[in-house]
Symmetry: C2
Subunit: 457 residues, 2 copies
């Protein structure tokens, strides 16, 4: 906790405005004050420095929860508490890859979440190269017996991050497909858009009945190197990948409220996820998300007690399967949630917002457009979707608003050792806080009833 955080906390609840539907000028004042925010930076700086990486259900994630409670309490939130749940734990072991023979050299790899193990005795096997997931799918059953499948792809940076959905299938589904065809292990080109020797981890999913095999990502330069070698002739690798499944352990969500004045108006949930991958310090994924939404809630509350409760949730265990989001939705099924939003796409500038609102509350989107136009945010045409952690809430027909951040450099850093504080641009972070603060100032005080949504937006 820094002095600046404490000062920000003292200021947060000091203004005596009554809780009325806000005017456009009031929203603008919240937005503009948030453009000078220091809380978000201090939160993400503190979390990434004082805790570091926060792999789900480990001692580090527990330290992060304690840090969160201390910080959110000091910032003046009410009802700050941890809600725990149990979940399976997977932890990284050794991970080395060496080309054998005349081009002997090491390659940089990182095991995928839920990878199997080679055992202590390294595996030596030949590469079977697949330029695409479709090529792997076309391989005859059994044809990979005793081989290391190597799956390539051609993901490029996009502003909306959409290529992660498309090419990300290589990581999510590729290993399981390779296993069903008899592969002894699987390597993928990192699902990333950079050219650094830092592999991108992330979970893979084993289909029902498929036993995990060793599965790892090569850094993009190493994947390109392996392609060059494979094109010259057969390549044999020695692989040692020794992660462990450790049984069940405790994880948890940290919850903090700014209580609303009207208990019938419902709760607005905002947040990000507290856990991170174990390679970096989880600055953009997702220290930034908890920092942005936390700071934004404080700025929105400067208009006085909001009509609706603003609940900030720092979800646990998102990366490894969304356990925190599921646990929250289950534990709070009896409450009236009217909106749920997550920030989980880095800390770069918001360039677009989208909504999924009930027909009686469409005016909110118009007021939001007015508030966000001056800070470079357009109104999008698609229906908003929530992040992983709020999806279980949204399933019940709850509305959402999406703040689309620029994804141009997100997959340079995502799930790598390079996800560190220095990658956050403080100015862009503040623009995020301003966008979320304006959105919360509008939605938490909206005079409309915010009812359930149907499929249309």
């Amino acid at each position: 906790m820094t002095k600046r955080l404490l000062l920000a906390a003292a200021a947060a609840f000091a203004l005596p405005f009554p809780a009325l539907a806000q005017t456009a000028a009031q929203v603008a004042s919240v937005r503009d004050a948030a453009m000078r925010d220091e809380v978000a930076w201090n939160v993400v700086e503190g979390l990434t420095t004082e805790v570091g990486q926060r792999l789900a259900a480990t001692e580090a994630e527990a330290r992060a929860r304690a840090w969160a409670v201390k910080t959110l309490t000091a910032l003046g939130f009410k009802n700050v508490h941890i809600e725990t749940y149990r979940m399976p734990v997977w932890v990284r072991g050794a991970e080395t890859a060496e080309v054998l023979g005349s081009a002997a050299q090491k390659l940089a790899i990182a095991a995928l979440g839920y990878s199997g193990s080679t055992g202590v005795q390294p595996l030596e096997a030949e590469i079977a190269y697949f330029p695409s997931l479709a090529d792997l799918q076309a391989a005859p059953t059994g044809s990979l017996k005793g081989k290391i499948a190597f799956i390539d792809h051609a993901m490029v940076p996009t502003q909306d991050g959409s290529q992660y959905g498309y090419y990300g299938a290589v990581r999510r589904a590729g290993p399981s497909i390779a296993a069903t065809k008899g592969a002894a292990a699987v390597l993928i080109r990192s699902i990333g858009t950079d050219h650094h020797r830092n592999p991108h981890t992330g979970v893979t999913t084993w289909a029902q009945g498929v036993s995990p095999i060793p599965a790892a990502a090569l850094s993009v330069p190493d994947a390109e190197q392996l392609v060059r070698l494979v094109k010259r002739g057969p390549v044999k690798l020695r692989l040692a990948i020794t992660p462990q499944f450790k049984g069940e352990a405790e994880s948890g969500n940290v919850i903090a409220d700014i209580p609303g004045s009207d208990p019938n108006a419902g709760i607005i949930v905002v947040g990000g996820h507290l856990d991170s991958w174990d390679l970096g310090t989880g600055a953009i994924d997702d220290g930034a998300g908890v920092a942005i939404t936390t700071a934004a809630a404080l700025h929105a509350a400067k208009l006085g007690q909001p009509r609706r409760t603003i609940r900030v949730v720092w979800f646990g265990a998102e990366e490894v399967g969304g356990f925190g989001g599921e646990a929250y939705a289950k534990a709070h099924a009896g409450e009236r949630h009217v909106l749920a939003m997550e920030s989980d796409f880095g800390a770069d500038r918001v360039w677009k917002f989208e909504t999924n609102l009930p027909s009686g509350a469409k005016g909110i989107a118009d007021r939001l457009e007015t508030a966000l136009y001056p800070i470079g945010i357009e109104r999008g045409r698609e229906a908003a979707h929530g992040g992983t952690d709020v999806e279980p809430i949204l399933r019940g027909g709850v509305g959402t608003i999406g703040m689309a951040q620029s994804g141009i450099r997100y997959f340079d850093l995502h799930h790598t050792p390079d996800d560190t504080l220095d990658k956050i641009d403080p100015e862009q972070l503040r623009q995020n806080v301003a966008a979320w603060a304006a959105m919360l100032a509008i939605t938490a005080n909206a005079p409309e009833d915010i009812g359930p949504v149907s499929a249309e937006h």
Copy 2:
């Protein structure tokens, strides 16, 4: 050896021009043909792919020499051979650093060349933080007893790379100073300008009588993290750094000639260094340098047999103390070298040339200015200095010409795992080849006598 390399080799000596002083138009034709060069790319692609890292005096460097002989022979060079020498060998071991206590986390480090070892039992000690080398120098003798000295600095990118000389003292001299003051180990902020979790290695120098202590570089993000932690209070680290001194082993230079027609006109030496650090594949440092100078020699020879012998040397063991350059100068002290030039600053565009020529040969600089003006290369005002490997030749009063490459991103990559092929821009590489080819076309055929130089240029 690729098919394209062989075709280039076949073409290299095919043109039947007589060996006359070249015209400006002939030099321009060499330059422009070199702007379409494929040899340099194929050399650096082959070397970094088929050999990988090439740490001095290791099995990998020996494989690189064999690769070099095969390649230079196929390219049509004469007198291709290896000249060996023996030298001390230092190899990397384990290297881990962990913050202990409430902010427990791992930090990314790489041992410096000639670092001492912690032994198998890790060292646990408190950090003593020094914002600069001057702060370390001011610490009282004995004040670091049992501590880990951590030396910071503020190096930034520069086009001329000059900050490496200035801030690089932290790596070259810092560890020895820390050792004399009783430090148990030393960490430095990487001498680098990037923000990736890839530490920059490089040699450190122990003053006479100082016993090596464990010495490593933190990646820049990790150094910044450690500064943030140190500012919060005392920090204790667990360090395991276990490199080994392995006694003496063989290293060597690879030498290849394009023989000149006039044995009295002297030899022009060009080259780069074949060895690399062990973390990357040595693409920019210095696969590019051997590739550029080799390709340039072939292009220059397209004017017909040159008057002077062009000797291409792929020096060994530059990174760890310049053993190859010293060995070459000693072995060839009886020969008449008239110019010696090295390319060892990456593969980005040449923006300036400088010369150090005897008074009777200043016209060469004027002709070079004419040839290089059209490809974005200005004539500089300072005296040229040679690279590490040709310095021992230059000491004898031999002239040189410097092709200054842009260093803006060189220290993002230098001595890191990120020094890989993908960092080379083929277009900029070709511009380098063109500059060197034009320079060799002029100098190898210059009708002037190129005598010894004095201190002035």
